[in-house]
Symmetry: C2
Subunit: 356 residues, 2 copies
């Protein structure tokens, strides 16, 4: 019927050689049992660390040494089949090319490794729209899910699964989440506000993200609260996608408007701050003498530009680590409390006293 007969569509016969070249057949627990002169069940008991009071120290040692000399490794597919689990968790993030999430991922993988768990990534599509089924994409069954709030749309399909779900960088009270972990971004914004107010700034531009997720709503709210505590403060908001080019565009537009001329720009992300600095330079303004700029996240980019960005350092890897630890706790039947990780304002070259 179909043309293209040369394409082998029979899955069962694919990769017949994949097993062949492997050095002999891998040793199984039965091989170990034979070598140690015990039954397969005993091997399973010993390897599973459940032998206390069930197997004598003599036999246990015999089994261990036989396993060692045969290079025995348990077949994980068989173990998973037996136990009905997968040792695999799904991490849902927008994109790893976003350095923040790459660092979160690093942390997640580190503690996953400690617990013998595998991490499979689901990169949620950039735009919105109905996301493809994360389960299918993972092509694996899962024990649990870690997800960023920036990928919340992709979570529809996960609801039905009833899987343990840990939200990173998200609303602590979020429904459906077994646990939440996030950097204390509200405190970060308060630190920014305090820093700039202390430098005498009163007219602000808030260069915000154009996406409406918890993390950015919190920033806006915390900033507004912190600034309103002081009288005589004005703040305008401009929204833009999180890229340098868009930050530049938005800043040029905002600074061109008459009336409100800010002395400081507070950005939701370092890439926006980099764009703002470029815009300022094009308009003949000197940063930080004429205009102060703050970033958020502390990406590598923050110290690559000149002058280096004053920014809020987010503990990205720690978020990943804490998130994975929380998921392990949930899998163990415990219920971890929501965590808010401390953040820290790093003052560098883009902030200075306001022009009088």
């Amino acid at each position: 019927m179909t043309s293209g007969e040369e394409t082998p569509q029979r899955p069962g016969e694919r990769w017949p050689t994949a097993r062949g070249p492997r050095a002999g057949a891998r040793a199984t627990s039965r091989d170990v049992a034979r070598a140690a002169g015990v039954s397969q069940a005993t091997v399973s008991l010993v390897m599973g660390e459940k032998w206390r009071g069930r197997v004598s120290e003599r036999t246990a040692e015999a089994v261990r040494s036989a396993a060692r000399s045969l290079g025995y490794r348990p077949n994980l597919a068989a173990r998973d089949l037996r136990l009905g689990r997968t040792r695999t968790v799904l991490l849902v993030v927008p994109a790893l090319t976003n350095e923040f999430f790459a660092r979160v991922h690093t942390g997640v993988v580190r503690v996953a490794r400690e617990h013998g768990l595998g991490v499979v990534l689901y990169l949620s599509p950039e735009g919105t729209g109905p996301a493809p089924d994360p389960f299918a994409s993972a092509s694996a069954t899962l024990d649990g899910v870690l997800a960023s709030s920036m990928a919340a749309e992709a979570l529809g399909a996960l609801r039905g699964g009833g899987l343990p779900l840990v939200m990173l960088d998200s609303d602590p009270g979020r429904e459906g989440a077994s646990a939440t972990v996030n950097p204390d971004i509200a405190d970060g914004m308060r630190q920014v506000a305090g820093h700039l107010l202390g430098l005498g700034h009163r007219r602000f531009l808030h260069l915000a993200s154009d996406i409406d997720t918890w993390t950015f709503r919190v920033r806006a709210r915390a900033l507004a609260d912190a600034l309103c505590a002081t009288s005589g403060v004005t703040v305008r908001t401009e929204r833009a996608p999180l890229t340098v080019a868009d930050g530049l565009r938005a800043t040029e537009k905002a600074l061109a408007e008459p009336g409100h001329r800010p002395t400081a720009i507070i950005c939701d992300d370092d890439v926006l701050a980099a764009g703002a600095c470029k815009a300022a330079r094009r308009l003949g303004l000197h940063v930080p003498a004429d205009l102060s700029v703050t970033g958020f996240t502390d990406l590598a980019l923050a110290t690559a530009v000149e002058p280096e960005l004053t920014t809020v350092q987010l503990p990205a890897e720690a978020v990943g680590e804490a998130g994975m630890r929380a998921l392990v706790a949930v899998l163990d039947g415990r219920t971890p409390a929501p965590e808010a990780l401390p953040v820290r304002l790093v003052t560098r070259g883009t902030t200075a006293h306001a022009r009088t």
Copy 2:
């Protein structure tokens, strides 16, 4: 014996609840068989796309509809156990926080998904030294391995496995590799040399990586060859780790030396170029009027700095895609030819005519 009795060390009893909350028991092929009024074997035949000539269209459709209404998903652990494979490949890279590798990873995952394969990451330790066993770290058996040359040290343990191995960004003739895929970096360096020679530059500084892998050796060699073709050219080499700060330091040091004063700095990476630009500014030099600078890779950083970097754009995602495709080919028993992917010089704001 050991203290800390409250820690449950019995792996078998961990996560007893993980299966419980899952919505009922998942449907198996036997459930589907019962619903469709056929045997389990028939279901397997139909789902495996091997039913042509073995099962009538009527029954096949009945099976498919039963599977659909039960929400049947094959248990992959069972399938793997039966077939003796894992549908999992290992990707070995230095770090995902390096944007280049994050993009390679994105490409790898994209085509892995098309083939129903999972990708597990092994992040090779930054420093050298004996790497931990990638197999253990993966906590999974593997069908194949994709590895970056920058993580070559971590590959010792893989040799013994006899697994298909595709090298990315590596020596085409590398022993032990089933296939190789890399961007044509030699051509990239030739383009850089041609561009700068055309602008009248004759005195160069090559700001190189301090790590000695194939990719950087090739750059040095290609650059030397291209520059030597023209007479009256001098080139000095300075080595530095791939960070902005180190690039800055190395440039300051090189420019402070007497005698040889370059008019152009050719960098092995964008981060070094960013550092070089910062150094130039501190020394009162104007880029590109007084000094031209070129980068390599075209990271996001390249357009974040001011002026934007002239750099060589590497097709990172394409490398990942081609690498994964090559690995699939090897798994299918074919032997793919080494691939060199085209690169392209992007001229932006950091290069100009040499001062006369």
